[in-house]
């Protein structure tokens, strides 16, 4: 059951001596290329171990049940939102878009068990996180900046959703069934799963169903078009070849229909993903090579936007999008001379296509059609390694480096021709070299853990930024045009963290600063005529000389008595761009505090969270000032055991005071949910 709980881990790595690191990276890459890593005696260290240590330092006191997550059956977005590095852009009740360190999905890499997936929506209505369910996952690893960026080139960081791990073992068959209800939007949650294991095989399958009506904001105002229905199926099967080898196949099928997006002018009639993989794992290869893991994967995403539920629109339209990705990775982990290292070779191919058909209001006039993503291929190959070096007794350096080849190719002739309207000389194909590295120093003594790091990374423009064709942004109300000729966006970042922990008390202060050059952002072009009826203008993606983003967070947890546990969290970000002032969608000062009472199988929690006034906004991107708010929640949970069956009941009230509020990350300032009563039941048998 505890698998249902998502453990959020945030990993911070920190760079050290710059020139040493550079030399190391260079040698490292050479070694990779030569394939001579196994014999290499160079002093590699294991960052992951230390990073996990750092995590454990933070999480140890947190039993899964006591995890800051209130509801076991909350959606994945609500889980992710608890991470310090993560904010969620909310366009309605469904499919929130994760921001990592204040940066949206173009600047981060989101993977599911290391698999790359590209959303199929030109309007970011389907981030990767929307195609999975909490039942599919064990945890989410959030890496800030370049550290742990095995998934590929990134600026902000990476988010890897780790699937539930099954194991071989004594024969057993376990089942789980769960049900939930939320009063505010009448959300029904139902699900079941079966888990089988034996010494030679394992398999599991689970099904989840969610169905919600419109939710009501504080004060009872109904937020129209916020309904959704989602079906999710996940299956996994493993087979042991011998003592040290096994293969695993997995499949996620996610199917959502009738999804409303109150913040947008259109809804979604279908969002569907098939996510499949086959993996071969071999461990104990030699004394220095622990594990070799190779995965082949494929995923297919379909996203159909539709406005048939909206009574009044300037013009009716259909906007379907498709994205297919095939890829692989092969990862070796080992220890040489007491130092841990990891090497990762990966590649993927994606094809993204989106189109728009508008139905004229004039009878007998032909439909208006355009390709909004002109059939863009992304071909990507990547080499990545990480290692750690002991520097002193309590000190070590953690290093990582990656090199990637990134190619975009427009495969639709008609798509290329339409983009040539803007860029007559553009070529069909564009290839880039992407580089990244990080170095972190970690100091660990007694109750203290300190780290400091430096990193460099760059990225290619996203499909929309490079090749989008009249993509309407309903927040700033501009049509956006991609720009295929842009340079790589680059980032130099520093980060640091200090954590102290003893038996009852834990505190962690962390911060990061990103200095980005050639920062990609839409810039208004007054000479262009809008395509979307009612749009304010046209923005063409361009590059700011620079931008800077500062993130900081503080966690303080205190075990007051055996029964009482108090957690606190503060966060703040600041982002500015050269010549444009504040960057949009940057979190103001926010806070959360919870007091938890637990005795035997009963626990209860009173929590509050809120934000200060949002006044560092940018009106050119549709933002406006927001007042401060505080929201209170309460919940209680009881676990009952009956023979081999365990039942957990959790119920509570969110937004007790029924506040009507909206946050910096609410698209078009759609208000959040008002008072909500929920009950979750989980039976394990």
């Amino acid at each position: 059951m505890s698998n249902l709980f998502l453990l959020l881990q945030e990993k911070y790595f920190l760079p050290a001596n710059f020139s040493k690191m550079f030399r190391f990276c260079f040698i490292f890459l050479l070694l990779c290329c030569a394939g001579g890593y196994a014999q290499s005696d160079s002093t590699h260290h294991r960052d992951t171990v230390k990073a996990v240590l750092l995590e454990e330092v933070i999480i140890v006191g947190d039993r899964p049940l006591r995890n800051k997550t209130n509801k076991p059956l909350a959606n994945l977005e609500q889980y992710l939102e608890k991470a310090n590095a993560v904010n969620m852009i909310r366009r309605g009740g469904y499919a929130w878009e994760p921001l990592i360190n204040g940066m949206a999905t173009e600047r981060s890499v989101i993977t599911i068990d290391g698999m790359r997936i590209y959303g199929a929506c030109t309007d970011k209505m389907d981030p990767v996180t929307s195609y999975v369910e909490i039942t599919n996952l064990e945890k989410a690893n959030v890496h800030s900046g370049q550290a742990g960026s095995a998934g590929g080139a990134t600026i902000a960081g990476s988010l890897d959703l780790v699937r539930k791990k099954n194991t071989f073992g004594a024969k057993s068959l376990k089942g789980i069934a769960f049900a939930g209800f939320e009063l505010n939007n009448r959300q029904k949650i139902l699900g079941t799963g079966i888990n089988w294991q034996s010494p030679k095989t394992y398999s599991s399958i689970d099904l989840t169903f969610r169905d919600a009506d419109n939710y009501k904001a504080g004060g009872g105002e109904e937020v129209l078009y916020s309904q959704f229905t989602k079906y999710n199926m996940s299956a996994i099967a493993g087979f042991k070849i011998d003592e040290h080898q096994h293969i695993e196949a997995s499949l996620i099928y996610d199917h959502a229909v009738d999804i409303g997006y109150p913040a947008l002018p259109m809804d979604v009639s279908l969002a569907r993903a098939y996510i499949g993989s086959v993996e071969y794992v071999r461990h104990h290869i030699s004394s220095s090579v622990h594990q070799w893991q190779t995965k082949l994967y494929f995923n297919d995403v379909t996203h159909v936007m539709d406005d048939s539920k909206r009574p009044v629109v300037p013009i009716r339209m259909d906007m379907p999008g498709w994205s297919k990705t095939a890829g692989f990775y092969s990862r070796v982990e080992g220890t040489t001379g007491g130092n841990n290292w990891k090497l990762n070779i990966s590649g993927h191919h994606n094809y993204s296509l989106a189109e728009m058909t508008m139905f004229s209001n004039t009878p007998d006039e032909k439909d208006m059609f355009m390709l909004t993503w002109p059939g863009v291929q992304t071909n990507y190959g990547d080499l990545y390694g990480e290692a750690s070096l002991p520097v002193g007794h309590n000190l070590k350096a953690v290093l990582s480096a990656g090199l990637a080849l990134h190619n975009n190719l427009i495969s639709k002739e008609s798509g290329l021709e339409s983009l040539k309207i803007f860029y007559p000389d553009m070529s069909r194909s564009k290839t880039r070299l992407l580089k990244r590295f990080s170095a972190t120093m970690q100091y660990n003594k007694n109750h203290w853990l300190l780290d400091a790091g430096i990193a460099y990374g760059d990225r290619a423009p996203s499909v929309s930024e490079g090749y989008g064709f009249y993509l309407f942004n309903s927040f700033d109300r501009f049509d956006y045009i991609g720009n295929p000729g842009m340079k790589n966006e680059k980032s130099v970042s520093v980060n640091g963290a200090a954590a102290f922990e003893n038996k009852a008390f834990m505190a962690k202060l962390s911060g990061s600063f990103f200095y980005l050059t050639d920062y990609i952002i839409g810039m208004p072009d007054n000479g262009l005529s809008v395509m979307t009826i009612g749009a304010s203008g046209v923005k063409v993606y361009g590059q700011l000389k620079s931008a800077a983003i500062f993130n900081t967070s503080l966690d303080v947890n205190y075990q007051l008595t055996e029964k009482w546990y108090w957690t606190n969290k503060l966060g703040y970000r600041r982002g500015t761009g050269y010549g444009i002032g504040n960057l949009p969608l940057i979190q103001p000062f926010t806070y959360a505090s919870a007091i938890n009472f637990k005795v035997k199988a009963f626990s209860a929690e009173l929590s509050m969270n809120g934000a200060a006034r949002h006044n560092k906004y940018n009106s050119d991107f549709g933002e406006r000032a927001l007042p401060a708010y505080t929201v209170f929640n309460v919940m209680a949970s009881q676990r009952v055991r009956l023979a081999k069956t365990s039942l957990q009941i959790k119920a509570g009230v969110e937004n007790i005071l029924d506040n009507n509020y909206t946050t910096f990350s609410d698209w078009n300032r759609v208000p959040r949910m008002g008072r909500n009563l929920f009950i979750n039941l989980v039976v394990v048998f």
Binding site: P314, I315, M356, M358, S360, N361, T362, E365, K366, D367, M368, F369, M370, L371, S414, E417, S418, K420, I421, F422, P424, F469, Y470, G527, L528, S529, V530, M531, I533, G534
Partner: protein, 280 residues
């Protein structure tokens, strides 16, 4: 079994030879392939078969092809001094329209071509008549007949009085198959000297502003106004950002930069008085 094989073999041979004989073409080089017959004009000696791509004549620019056949049905490939004269007989008067000279189509033996710009469609009462004059072996001939000119479904020709008190005919030539792309745009411009005489106009500029009236009258970027090329036609670039119905607002500017017809599209003015239409 053997019998069946023989039977099948026989069947195949029969079918094959039938197919072959059908393929036999009396005219080995079919120079009118891809063209459709519009009408036939005839005199005592010849039949003149008129073709266009669509098999129709419409208002606007028409690329017209014809062949001359003698009484024996043989194609005449040595016609000279070719000239044509389209005339519209209206109730109160008659007038002609812009027409090109006639030449033999390159790489053909017997196919003649040219273009005619009809400013208006014919009807039962008011009709177009086409006269083709030519000579073969030193003898002059004339073929004459009524032709049907239909109204094009979209506006592709403008005939107007300019502010300089001159009458102009402006017709869209290309794109004939528009795409979501930067299209090569071509037009022809004529001035009416008299009811029966139209002459090409040199050195003007045709300013274009494509709009989608069905979508807030939006425009498109990177259009290039039409200017005269060495082929005497007017060439420019037309960007179409999506399929559908487009109205290409026009302004005609003379050699000294004075607009003689058409108005800019502004907040208060949805369209110019002269325009072309495209729908695809």
């Amino acid at each position: 079994m053997k019998l069946l094989n023989v039977f099948l073999l026989g069947l195949v041979i029969v079918l094959f030879s039938a197919g072959c004989s059908k393929d036999k073409d009396p005219d080995p080089i079919n120079e009118t392939e891809g063209l459709q017959l519009v009408t036939t004009l005839s005199n005592d000696n010849h039949k003149v078969n008129i073709y266009t791509k669509s098999g129709k004549l419409q208002t606007g620019y028409n690329e017209i092809f014809f062949q001359v056949k003698d009484a024996g049905g043989n194609l005449v490939d040595n016609a000279l001094q070719l000239e044509w004269m389209p005339v519209m007989h209206m109730s109160s008067m008659s007038h002609s329209c812009p027409a090109s000279s006639i030449s033999k189509k390159e790489n053909t033996r017997s196919l003649y071509k040219g273009f005619v710009v009809f400013q208006m469609a014919g009807s039962d009462m008011e009709y177009w008549e086409l006269t083709i004059d030519y000579s073969v072996g030193g003898t002059a001939y004339e073929a004459k007949g009524n032709i049907q000119v239909l109204e094009a479904s979209k506006k592709v020709v403008q005939s107007f009085l300019g502010s300089d008190e001159k009458r102009y005919v402006l017709a869209l030539v290309a794109p004939s198959e528009p795409k979501v792309a930067v299209n090569d745009m071509t037009a022809v411009l004529y001035r009416m000297e008299s009811m029966m005489s139209f002459v090409p106009v040199d050195g003007y500029t045709v300013k274009i502003d494509p709009r989608m009236p069905g979508m807030g009258n939006h425009s498109s970027p990177n259009n290039i106004d039409l200017t005269q090329g060495t082929d005497k036609l007017y060439h420019g670039k037309l960007s179409l950002t999506m399929t559908g119905y487009w109205k290409i607002n026009l302004q005609l500017e003379n050699g000294s930069g004075t607009v003689v017809k058409g108005e800019p599209v502004t907040e208060g003015n949805e369209g110019s008085s002269i325009y072309f239409e495209l729908e695809f």
